[in-house]
């Protein structure tokens, strides 16, 4: 019986390890578990966009299972069995750059909002430091301070390094007091 063999321990013959599992971009689970995620619709959209072949399979599978009655019964249960979706904070996606004085004639550049684009701040700070040959550090929850006035350069460098950030999304806050 195939079913019994399925659970057998030990490497299977004819299978190359490591196995590559496709994960859903929306719920991060293997795509076969998407249907148990509360935001299944979004998963479907993601599948349609990124893996059209898999999406077709899911669609066919959906038609086979008798929904209707079963679905209704399930909904009644509610309560504990429902996975809660993690709430992603969908704030305005924007990067702000400003200049702050440092001493009498020197200044530093403050960049905030990079983390709204899911950018690793540590990596970003290192990149800025290397790029401008200056000190650069993560100073707050979502703040990078670059030593030296490089504000104007940033408008070119940021969209260059992270294509998802458009130049229009970077706002210039001008000079700010420390």
């Amino acid at each position: 019986m195939a079913e019994v063999n399925r659970l057998k321990i030990g490497p299977k013959e004819g299978v190359n390890y490591p196995i590559q599992v496709t994960y859903c971009g929306n719920c991060t689970m293997p795509i076969e578990y998407c249907e148990y995620y509360p935001d299944y619709d979004k998963c479907k959209q993601w599948l349609e966009k990124h893996l059209p072949t898999e999406f077709e399979k899911v669609k066919i599978g959906d038609n086979e299972t008798p929904t209707g009655e079963e679905e209704k019964k399930r909904q009644k249960r509610g309560g504990k069995g429902i996975i809660k979706t993690k709430k992603k904070e969908e704030g305005p996606k924007q990067v702000c750059v400003s200049r702050a004085p440092r001493g009498k004639k020197k200044s530093v550049t403050v960049v905030t909002g990079l983390s709204t684009f899911d950018i690793d701040l540590k990596v970003a700070a290192k990149f800025f430091g290397q790029r401008f040959a200056c000190g650069s550090s993560v100073t707050g929850d979502d703040e990078i301070v670059i030593q030296g006035d490089v504000k104007d350069d940033l408008f070119d460098v940021i969209p260059d390094k992270w294509p998802e950030i458009d130049e229009d999304l970077i706002e210039d806050l001008g000079d700010q007091k420390r």
Binding site: E3, V4, R6, L7, K8, I9, G10, P11, K12, Y17, P18, I19, Q20, V21, C27, T28, M29, P30, E32, Y33, Y36, Y37, K80, G81, I82, I83, K84, K86, D120, K122, V123
Partner: protein, 182 residues
């Protein structure tokens, strides 16, 4: 274990391991999972310097040099693989299959109850008490949780009540969500 785990709050530090400690961890893992023998060099290369992430509740997570989570344990317990690793090498844990109805509860972190392991859609492979097992699901190819049996499979079938497998790590919990550690 990782239900309330949060990447930012729960981590208290990252440690580089001494090579002697690395060796002992390797041998411990090999002891508990003999089927990994041919693959352990790929998972944890001998020359690789792996680190330990210390977290709250005495949880330790073993990461490789790329920062990917590989194994975890609580206190001095047994090392358990993360689901990402298990998906790649699904063969080295004994598997238990639960029926369809249980999937959504397991995915929200519930322990696996005996009836979910004995119903027609479910299947068990024989194991002792306190074994690390992979939880598979009816009609699905991949594991959805990793747990520790609280009863032997014989007892699960006999008693058929209460918790059969303690859920340690499941899809979309804190450890699953965790990004590679730098």
């Amino acid at each position: 274990m990782f239900k309330k785990f949060d990447e930012k709050e729960s981590i208290s530090g990252v440690l580089q391991l001494k090579s002697s400690v690395q060796k002992s961890i390797r041998s411990k893992i090999l002891d508990s999972y003999p089927h990994l023998e041919n693959y352990l060099d790929v998972i944890l290369p001998k020359k690789d310097a792996f680190k330990i992430v210390k977290c709250h509740d005495h949880i330790e997570i073993l990461i490789n040099s790329a920062g990917e989570q590989q194994f975890f344990r609580q206190r001095e317990g047994q090392w358990m693989p993360t689901l990402k690793l298990l998906h790649k090498y699904p063969f080295f844990l004994p598997m238990q299959q639960v029926d369809k109805g249980a999937i959504r509860f397991v995915l929200s972190g519930a322990n696996i109850m005996c009836p979910g392991l004995t119903s027609p859609g479910a299947q068990m492979t024989e194991v002792q008490k306190d074994t690390i097992v992979a939880i598979m699901a009816e009609g699905k190819d991949h594991a959805l949780a990793i747990g520790k049996t609280t009863l032997s499979t014989e007892d699960i079938a006999k008693i058929n009540k209460g918790i059969g497998v303690e859920n340690c790590h499941y899809l979309n919990d804190g450890l699953w969500q965790m990004k590679p550690v730098k």
